[in-house]
């Protein structure tokens, strides 16, 4: 993403947001609530278009693509939503298989196999026939993750995948994210403000502050920084932030 600006009415959320994601790595974007992390993520799949700036995926400028090309590009991208965004009227299996039905190369038999395989990966075998309303928060998130990985995407975008989960479920989700990267070579972008998760799963961490990337580096570089904004955020010390003075 290069110099992306995005405003909603009077409120400017992104003000020159620039970030490169390296192939095969997991990059976490951290930042306070309402800082625009999810807004940035939605630009990558063309759910939002920038007011200014460019978003490049696979050498294609997403912000300039027509709708059909955007749909084509999205087949390479899985998206895990903050609250799972499972379709209420569909069972878990139907949710997970929905993306595959849009792909000509997937026949019904293979879709059933793939759905089972994805549910096994997220430890939800046996839940195929359940409706989302019959799942717990953690199960919904895992079903959302299964749906995102079903199409075997090159990239997976995770919007706060562990927010609101208990520590055990958080660890399970973190483990899954790491496996996606290590075993399947998936490139991941994770939006989070859970620092423990961010350091556990990330190859690189970028901090969004005031509409821009304040700092980007490896988890060790982020931990060692003297930048008061980054330090204040990762250590949970609001007195270090400029707003406090």
């Amino acid at each position: 993403m290069v110099d992306v600006h995005k405003a909603f009415g009077e409120k400017e959320v992104l003000r020159g947001f620039t970030l490169s994601i390296r192939d095969g790595e997991t990059t976490s974007v951290i930042g306070g609530s309402g800082s625009g992390k999810s807004v940035a993520l939605k630009h990558i799949v063309g759910l939002l278009r920038p007011d200014q700036g460019d978003v490049w995926v696979d050498d294609q400028n997403v912000s300039r693509l027509d709708q059909q090309s955007v749909y084509h590009l999205r087949r390479n991208v899985g998206y895990v939503f903050q609250f799972a965004a499972l379709f209420d009227s569909m069972t878990v299996a139907e949710n997970v298989g929905l993306g595959l039905k849009r792909m000509d190369e997937w026949e019904d038999d293979r879709i059933v196999e793939r759905v089972t395989e994805c549910l096994r990966l997220v430890d939800l075998v046996g839940f195929e026939g359940r409706l989302p309303s019959e799942l717990s928060g953690g199960q919904k998130k895992r079903a959302g993750l299964a749906r995102a990985i079903a199409t075997e995407p090159k990239y997976i975008l995770y919007d706060e995948p562990t927010t609101g989960l208990d520590p055990i479920t958080t660890a399970v989700i973190d483990e899954l994210i790491v496996r996606m990267s290590e075993e399947l070579g998936v490139t991941g972008v994770v939006i989070t403000h859970d620092m423990k998760s961010a350091f556990r799963i990330s190859d690189r961490v970028a901090m969004l502050y005031d509409g821009q990337i304040r700092m980007e580096g490896t988890p060790d570089e982020i931990r060692a920084t003297d930048d008061p904004v980054v330090k204040g955020f990762i250590e949970g010390r609001p007195e270090l932030l400029p707003e406090a003075s």
């Binding site: 939605k42 799949v45 063309g46 759910l47 709708q67 749909y71 084509h72 999205r74 087949r75 991208v77 899985g78 998206y79 939503f81 903050q82 609250f83 965004a85 499972l86 379709f87 209420d88 929905l98 993306g99 849009r102 749906r147 199409t151």
Partner: protein, 260 residues
């Protein structure tokens, strides 16, 4: 103290919101036209929507039509007593049901039942990011959600209105025979007297546009819902109010254009 210009500002804001809503609905309409060619997305859902929008609405439409027919017969008899031959009750019941009350009352009732349901369902999908999820799975949400509903409305409203017209007339007929001093032959004579086949076509034309209005307005307000549960509530209310108003405007428009 409130500024003396506050009412003007409020009206101005309301007008701007209305213009913006019309613009958004226009864009959605264009997207829906373009999405018609994606029949692989909307066709599998058309029958289901026809059942939900059409078949499930039949009981309320027939309930309204039957009581409207009864009241029309009784009011016509009350009005005509001593001045106009009583068989004109059949004319008034038939003409009024087919030309006006069948389509309009059905349209208004279904704007509450169908329009509200569509706005709430799609609005909830919007605020829970289900529509975004559809997009990320390479589904065009307009083709998947809007087109089958609007087509189902356009196809099913006329069928419901045909039934409502028939039940309204039959209820008026039954009332004339049981509560008024009329024979079946007299009612039928009045019914046939001013009947024109064109009346049925007029009723159908109106009901197709009412069906498209109710479903399209419901989809548009649902699609552009913002702000959680409160936003869904507002979108639902607005969808009912706006589609009811458009139905009444269309009613006058078709009368002016087609009944000259």
């Amino acid at each position: 103290m409130a500024s003396p210009l506050a009412p003007v500002r409020s009206v101005g804001r309301g007008a701007l919101r209305s213009v913006a809503a019309i613009g958004r609905a226009g864009y959605l309409g264009l997207d829906a036209l373009r999405a018609l060619r994606k029949s692989d997305l909307w066709a599998p859902h058309l029958l289901g929507q026809m059942a939900r929008i059409g078949v499930d609405s039949v009981p309320i439409a027939l309930f309204i039509a039957s009581f409207t027919g009864i009241v029309l017969a009784l009011q016509a008899s009350y009005t005509f007593t001593g001045a106009v031959p009583l068989y004109f009750v059949g004319s008034l019941v038939g003409k009024t049901m087919i030309l006006e009350l069948g389509p309009v009352l059905t349209g208004l009732a279904l704007s509450g039942r169908v329009g509200a349901s569509i706005a709430a369902e799609i609005g909830t999908m919007r605020v829970t990011e289900q529509i975004d999820a559809l997009e990320t799975l390479a589904y065009d949400p307009v083709a998947y959600l809007v087109v089958p509903r609007v087509l189902a409305g356009a196809l099913m409203f006329p069928m419901i209105v045909v039934l409502a017209n028939a039940i309204g007339v039959l209820a008026g007929w039954g009332t004339a025979m049981s509560l008024l001093d009329m024979s079946s032959a007299e009612f039928e004579k009045g019914l046939r007297l001013f009947f024109e086949p064109w009346d049925l076509q007029f009723s159908m034309i109106k009901s197709v546009t009412f069906g498209m209005t109710v479903t399209a307005v419901g989809c548009s307000f649902g699609f552009h819902t913002r702000g959680g549960a409160e936003g869904v509530g507002k979108a639902t209310t607005r969808a009912v109010v706006v589609s009811s108003m458009i139905i009444l405007v269309l009613d006058a428009f078709w009368a002016a254009v087609l009944l000259k």
